[in-house]
């Protein structure tokens, strides 16, 4: 061991055990993107600061937008008193949350109760790190990609971090020591596990095509966005339309938004897992939900809606302007997708628990699986004709849905059966009947 140390000191590093790399490049697994280390560090810090703040501002803007748009959809005004058109309303709300007494009820499990909101908020913020929010900007001779970390397992990272969100809900629910909270937490954990599968499987078709086109590191989100750059027909949602729908639906479920917000269904569970929370802790749950929406939209845009590409508009202008334009395109696409979130909220009623499980396991999962099989099969047999793959995917999804639907109708149990969800029914009797 001493010998090893000596070798390091003398710089040869040959007998040193692991990863020479980790010393010469402390960022280890991150790609250096062809930049000198100091430029990489500086640009990363700047990007992190900008994106983190944009995310927080985005949450505020989203809260305002949601309330105003909801008002518009329901033919009422929404908040319009604080500041121009009510724009300062989120700030007023924030101040209210901050100034409220930070109440910790006596009967809660204190450490987990305090930790839970952060457990939900942190994953929501972490995910954005691997999402490419634009092309690249050229400053002082360095081409800086508009992405915080282009890691070569980008998609897996997103799936991994997304799967952490459930802890905030479950632990918060349990720590609250309240039956409504616990029911909400149980529902939420089952829901999130179920829909995570769809979320992961729906991406695989996209990955397969990107791998054969780009080669190598197709798990990097930047490569996936780049592969959709040529024209509209390369946007993945056209090629993988059923997978896109399945992914979006699963995304709604993961963010606990309205058609799937059983974890906090007001009419049944008071407020579900955050019943016992107030002041800033409640605000953190609240922020996490909106942050999840924003990040979810950004990921969907990257994976399926062409990322920062828009008919070559992203190439207009000089090295700096084009980067800014590409960021603008990405931003606009994300904003449009966020509008869809609100739109869906006031369009679809909440699912019942057994309906939710049926949708996830019996429809979305088979559709996502069929998308994988069909994409692979058609890629080989038709020599990579994307039009045929797109059509084949839609046809396959139709077949799968009609077969499953037909089976469900044929095997429908005779009238008035309580939903049978393994083990849950005893606990769920209030909620789902």
């Amino acid at each position: 061991m001493m010998a090893a140390c000596d070798n390091v000191a003398s710089g040869s590093g040959k007998t040193m055990f692991f990863a020479e790399g980790a010393l010469s490049n402390p960022l280890g697994p991150y790609r250096r993107m062809g930049l000198p280390l100091n430029v990489l560090l500086l640009s990363s810090i700047v990007k992190i600061l900008i994106i983190a703040h944009l995310l927080l501002i985005g949450v505020m803007a989203m809260i305002w937008a949601e309330r105003r748009i909801s008002g518009w959809m329901q033919d009422r005004l929404g908040p319009n008193r604080v500041g121009f058109q009510g724009l300062l309303q989120p700030i007023a709300d924030g101040i209210k949350f901050l100034l409220k007494e930070d109440l910790i009820p006596n009967h809660v499990d204190k450490p987990l109760y305090v930790l839970a909101p952060a457990m939900l908020l942190i994953p929501a913020m972490l995910t954005i790190a691997v999402v490419p929010f634009g092309g690249s900007i050229e400053i002082a001779g360095h081409t800086i990609p508009l992405q915080i970390a282009d890691i070569n397992i980008g998609i897996l990272y997103i799936l991994a971090i997304t799967s952490l969100g459930v802890y905030g809900v479950v632990l918060g629910a349990w720590a609250s020591n309240n039956k409504y909270s616990l029911l909400g937490g149980l529902r939420s954990s089952a829901q999130m596990i179920s829909y995570e599968l769809t979320l992961g499987l729906a991406i695989i078709g996209v990955l397969m095509l990107t791998v054969v086109e780009q080669g190598g590191s197709a798990l990097s989100l930047r490569e996936i966005a780049k592969s959709q750059g040529k024209n509209l027909w390369n946007w993945n949602f056209l090629i993988h339309f059923p997978a896109f729908l399945a992914f979006t639906t699963a995304m709604f479920a993961e963010t606990n938004r309205l058609p799937f917000d059983l974890a906090e269904a007001e009419q049944e569970l008071v407020a579900g897992y955050h019943t016992e929370y107030s002041s800033m802790k409640f605000a953190m749950f609240f922020m996490a939900e909106y942050m999840n929406m924003i990040v979810g939209s950004a990921v969907t845009v990257t994976l399926f809606l062409g990322g920062w590409h828009f008919f070559g508009l992203e190439n207009v202008g000089g090295p700096i302007l084009s980067g800014l334009i590409s960021f603008g395109i990405f931003f606009a696409k994300t904003a449009i997708f966020l509008f869809v979130f609100i739109w869906v909220r006031w369009t679809l009623p909440r699912f019942r628990y057994d309906q939710l499980m049926n949708l996830g396991w019996k429809f979305l999962l088979p559709v996502a699986l069929s998308s994988i099989v069909v994409t692979g099969f058609l890629w080989v047999t038709t020599d990579g004709n994307k039009l045929l793959i797109g059509i084949g995917n839609v046809v396959a999804a139709f077949i799968v849905i009609s077969v499953v639907g037909g089976l469900l109708v044929m095997n429908k149990p005779p009238e008035v059966s309580t939903p049978e969800i393994a083990g849950l029914d005893t606990l769920e009797s209030e909620g789902s009947s």
Partner: protein, 172 residues
Amino acid sequence: MEFTLKTLIFYGFALLTVASGIVVVTVRNIVHAAFSLMVTLFGVAGLYVFLQADFLAATQVIVYVGGILVLILFGVMMTSGRLEMRIHIERGQLLLGAVVAIALLMLLLAVIANTPQWKNVADDGTQLQPTTESIGTLILNGQFLLPFEVVSVLLLVALIGAALISRKEVRE
């Protein structure tokens, strides 16, 4: 012992992993144990990144933290009411278990210390190569294809078995 950023990070993760592992074993509250296990699994994932196994690190978080542990938490909430969450440990059992375990630890350490092949294997000093591709190639294109298929059948069997066991009994 030279302290570089690298060793510091390693010891940080190692401490995190072992300490939270000990908490899993000793803490009385099941949910706290589960939470602590999450920290352990995270620490192991961090060590995987450190060992340049990027794919496995992500898989560890997805499968263990995001899947298995959530299932376990789910099980905790299904089986234990809020009030009986605390469980006691018998002293005698603790003593006996500790003795056996420490004997085992000694054995393992002795094996590690006495196996010369595990020392001084030269590292080729290569930078990180994405492991995803090589793992995929090994599984689907090489000697691990059969185990892979067997494991997938195992998963299917487990899925069906679990559904069958936990199904509500149909009373005619």
